[in-house]
Symmetry: D2
Subunit: 419 residues, 4 copies
Amino acid sequence: MVAKSRTYHDPLHGAIVLDCRDPIEALIIQLIDTPEFQRLRRIRQLGVAGLTFHGAESSRFTHSLGVMAIARRAFDHVVQGHPNLAPYRAAVLCGGLLHDIGHGPFSHTCEDIFGSQHEHWTLRILAESLPVRQLLDGHDPQLLHQLEQIYTKQHPIPLVWQLVSSQLDCDRLDYLMRDSYFTGASYGRLDLDRILMALNYDPDSQQLVVANKGLAAIEHYLIVRYFMYAQIYNHAKNIAATWQLGQAFQRARELYRAGQILADETVSAWLAGNCDHLPLEHYLAADDGVFFYHLQRWQDHSDPVLADLCRRFVNRNLFKATEVSAIAPAQQTELLQMLHHKLEQIGFVPGYYSTICQTSSSGYTLYQRGIKLLTPQGLQEISERSPLVKTLTQPLNRTWLVYPAEFPVSPLLAPLLNP
Amino acid sequence: MVAKSRTYHDPLHGAIVLDCRDPIEALIIQLIDTPEFQRLRRIRQLGVAGLTFHGAESSRFTHSLGVMAIARRAFDHVVQGHPNLAPYRAAVLCGGLLHDIGHGPFSHTCEDIFGSQHEHWTLRILAESLPVRQLLDGHDPQLLHQLEQIYTKQHPIPLVWQLVSSQLDCDRLDYLMRDSYFTGASYGRLDLDRILMALNYDPDSQQLVVANKGLAAIEHYLIVRYFMYAQIYNHAKNIAATWQLGQAFQRARELYRAGQILADETVSAWLAGNCDHLPLEHYLAADDGVFFYHLQRWQDHSDPVLADLCRRFVNRNLFKATEVSAIAPAQQTELLQMLHHKLEQIGFVPGYYSTICQTSSSGYTLYQRGIKLLTPQGLQEISERSPLVKTLTQPLNRTWLVYPAEFPVSPLLAPLLNP
Amino acid sequence: MVAKSRTYHDPLHGAIVLDCRDPIEALIIQLIDTPEFQRLRRIRQLGVAGLTFHGAESSRFTHSLGVMAIARRAFDHVVQGHPNLAPYRAAVLCGGLLHDIGHGPFSHTCEDIFGSQHEHWTLRILAESLPVRQLLDGHDPQLLHQLEQIYTKQHPIPLVWQLVSSQLDCDRLDYLMRDSYFTGASYGRLDLDRILMALNYDPDSQQLVVANKGLAAIEHYLIVRYFMYAQIYNHAKNIAATWQLGQAFQRARELYRAGQILADETVSAWLAGNCDHLPLEHYLAADDGVFFYHLQRWQDHSDPVLADLCRRFVNRNLFKATEVSAIAPAQQTELLQMLHHKLEQIGFVPGYYSTICQTSSSGYTLYQRGIKLLTPQGLQEISERSPLVKTLTQPLNRTWLVYPAEFPVSPLLAPLLNP
Amino acid sequence: MVAKSRTYHDPLHGAIVLDCRDPIEALIIQLIDTPEFQRLRRIRQLGVAGLTFHGAESSRFTHSLGVMAIARRAFDHVVQGHPNLAPYRAAVLCGGLLHDIGHGPFSHTCEDIFGSQHEHWTLRILAESLPVRQLLDGHDPQLLHQLEQIYTKQHPIPLVWQLVSSQLDCDRLDYLMRDSYFTGASYGRLDLDRILMALNYDPDSQQLVVANKGLAAIEHYLIVRYFMYAQIYNHAKNIAATWQLGQAFQRARELYRAGQILADETVSAWLAGNCDHLPLEHYLAADDGVFFYHLQRWQDHSDPVLADLCRRFVNRNLFKATEVSAIAPAQQTELLQMLHHKLEQIGFVPGYYSTICQTSSSGYTLYQRGIKLLTPQGLQEISERSPLVKTLTQPLNRTWLVYPAEFPVSPLLAPLLNP
């Protein structure tokens, strides 16, 4: 008996049923079954945030299924009123499903250290990885090209890439809901029904637009995004943990160049050089687990800095981050110098143990064409209609001092914060 | 500034606040911070079930926090009416928190293959692992002994171990709620308020008992357990995946004995012999990630059986399990022989690729003293009061045929299932 | 601008969108807008249960929308595989929407006292009430007849009436979910996705059947029903309140016959005689509010029994119900006599203040063809497949002693309960 | 057997357990049982909003329990750090429970028409209604005075009244959560744990303040409030329904003065004159049901305006409200005149059928001392710290044109909206 459908029971979206007799949904099933997509099970959606919010343990695999499910609902809703969009269904669903397939171990942290870019790798994997490529070509020889147009935001119908990656895309909708669900932050409860019902297509500009009456639902979504950044993604502990992990890999990289570290071929290839030229197999062989395994091994490395950084990370002995935005930049520099000096005195190699770093988040930007409302007077930029959204365009810039939790930084900070 | 409390935001229990000025809760915080407890972040609560239910990605760390939180609520509720129990608070809270600390990689799967027992290791870690032992002894020199009494169900006050490990314990309450939340199975929604309010202490027998009016809440909890086993834990795909993983380690073990496999010291120590005599450090150095890493490496092993089993597992190319309970045992054996024969013909080493296995679950057993209702007529076994619970005591035994998904087993099965 | 759709935001089902361009859904909208259907806003789903569970304040209007929404999902799911059922869509949706339109004030309580039957009135309203009748006939002259076949379970395609009224119908699915949501009883959380996905049509018997793999979801639904009856619908306080309300109307009826009570024409018509011969307008003019208003007025009636019963009910000074199932029937009668005697001594008219009554609920009956599983061996009655369902077929019979809460009944009861 | 506790199972707050042995909680139980408090079961929390959002059917009784439950959690949290506040527990809990006891039928709608004020009546009921007064005095002769200080915001400890009625009070916390839960609007999901944990007491100013780290939780709460007003409370249909109801009572009042209407004594007393001088018994005898009953009766009144307004309201044939904020005030007046003229031509008495009205809501005002953050630099007004809150202080003023739904207003509006 051949199965007629495959069902994924999702805590957020309920039963996600894929119909095997629909060629597009059959393709989705086959893509999910590729080793390349299964690899996303081994890359966490929120990187190291699970060290701060213990529930944040879910993977990009789970998230990617969710994005596809939302993209399907959104597209099938819009296409009802605009049947001429129907030919783009495969591109939108695959675009949603595969949008994270290029993510490497510890996602953004490793991108910073190793100079890899997941967008670049998404395109390479689609084009060069046989199991994926053959499925795409087998369905439609133009599909790969369309996906490239989506990921580079050059698809002739902007709606097609906007559903996958824009200020109001299915990626964000899923991760805000999902991260909120798993971290237990009530902030992120979106009104997905109202949002999806408000989505529409503007035949003139060929863009994704929002019906006027959906304004509040979209405002709410942007607010949620702001809160999730402020409270979860940019939480002080998360900033510290992320930087700390980066330092461990940074040190490993330096030791590798000096020929003083052992790693398997995959990790060696990453440590060796510019990641964008890695052989595809080494990129695909890497995941959070492979890298974390090396950190575990390096806990006993002879280099005291590497060993210490790895032990701290593995055992969740996290650095601390304190906001110092209120201190003038010049004084911040002085503060860091003083701190480095003190850390050095007690035996630390200070650059690996302390830094000043910045986070900047805004709930909304005009980047990627913003979000357009369909009003009786024509398309209107949402930030011009909504004082709340206007407020969210002001980026929230914060400066953080990162240092070992056991180091008494208060005596240094107190006179600066309360002069 | 010293923190006054530490808060864990839990998706199920809301804010779990630990009060640093309460010596017991301060101890809990310190225990959470030990490397031994942090290691539970790297062991999944549901082993390989995430391959079947994509949301099932949470760890024993997360679960253990939840058990402690429920144990605290339950104990603090019971102690209100029985203040003489107050001295056991530390034992109950630590007992709940640490009950899973002895779990090894892939929990029960590896226990079967390597002959380790997490209960044994829990006791060893508490007694022998310095950071944990010192914290326990520092709080109260009798605490370790009390925990041993809890885990061996020999504590003089049965309620103390019953809250941690019995037919109605905080472990089960948390995992049913949590697994349901993360897999999206609505079945597992417990009425925790009603259950906890019904818990009481019987001064005569010193047991945990249930107030008469809590009958329905407890019936419901036992039903939920039955459903979670039937639908989630014993799902056909999960049975197949678990067996398949075991086979890979089984093969690795044999190759190790033949000197034909490479592994790091930790995994080597596991492969080498009886796990209950492992040095503590090698037990603690093992986790899901370390073992999974080896499976990833062994995908390229020269032994075709090992390499194939590992590739299948890593890429989630899962075996299939079909229920054959309806077939008479003698015919089951014949069936397996026939299947083995056919698999051999097409080049498989059949023992690694196919088996008949059994699952047995009952929603309720009298084991561990059962659950007692406090009625006007005295204590009464719940299964004697409730026809539903009585029904649940009948174990659900099921027999499964496991085989590679690509193998057409229907022609063999059809005549047996529909004679 | 003509609206393209109408949306009801439902706390359980999310956005229920009705498409104005679909003739059936347009009909649904018009039926909702009739005074007959709007009247259901003034009849509570759970009668007086709100006096016991304060959240249980929702109306049959709300519930009826939900039934229609589930019926639509269920029907549209089944019809996908059986397009020949499509002509029955209007009947199923209207059948679901209108199934409660015949309910009178305080539903079942008043049915007992006044001898009305909501099933009878549903048929009368559809046939005789112009606004409804014209809409039905305008859509399809056969529709009324089909609805009659549904409500009398004589539709030639059993599936059509089974979706509306059977052991597994959309009515029960909605009210279990809804009552659970509003009372805060976690028991009632159904896995609607899994249930609806399991529904199917058996072309041979033309019945609604359940796919084999949906067994657990259906078992769970039946268990939920059992719990909701045991815990909510048959709660002791609810039994007492229901009986107490009936007594007030009983007394009013007697006073009416004696010409000793004032009421408006509608209530007078009800008090006067056999309700099944009421003029339609008086049936439709009655609702919970109209009847409750009279209870409020009668608080000052010169008849002390009526005045007292009304005051107690209005101010929620409820009778008490104590389970006496453990007492032998002969002793129950004695007990009631003794109680009546004592009540009389202190000035009560005992028959209005105390009774012995029975409740009987079973989670499942074979009535209305039961529920059929579609197995490889053909249709199978679910209770023969599931020991849990089998257990649920045993009715739970309970006997209750009802009496004024201020009366000390313990001295009478204690020797009988603990002889 | 005397009960040790009473439990209310609440869909939002879970089990609300009141301890009978705690004198304050025993008082709460007795207050709940008074006819005055039970009367709140018959006044809907959201007035006529159930006509727009069908789930909005819950009562002020339900809400008042919730406010008390939150007030208890909030107070018991704050008092932990400030034990000197303990003497005010009874005042805060009773203050929360009874804050709505003075509400009349259809709350704000009837206040506008009849000139009653629920705040005035709350004070009168506490002081003059025997059952309540005796309970308060019996507990503590000073309690009534303290409650008066709370409701007039003159309590010497501002925190005591701020918990009950301020920009961040338990009233708002409960109704936002509850209205969101029952209407199905995801907007209103508050993070109650985080909010309550952030509440604190400032010993200097004796005010309720918010810990610095609670900023986001409070921002979120204020945003939620903004959304609930924009989407639910000020929904166009709700504005129309509210005005329409007022018009019916307005007309009834005029007919009463002309001696042309029948009503029972209670409603007559309301229709007769200034409601603030009503005898207490007539105030307490009035509720939504009593007034709605009269609307039902008046459907057959000989005055065609009253009869028509009542029939429309009873059958939910609602007026329509269209936003005309974009039109200049002078033109609005013209528009209304034109509309009145046209309505008159076709036989309407225009003043009862059409109006221009305004709504104004701001998410936050400085009124009632605002909300103060406790920062290292001292107390700080939240709107000065948060750009989002600052934005919310700008009131959202909207102007609406209300008219019968069947009247084609578009031809009048179109040229003004799109000149």
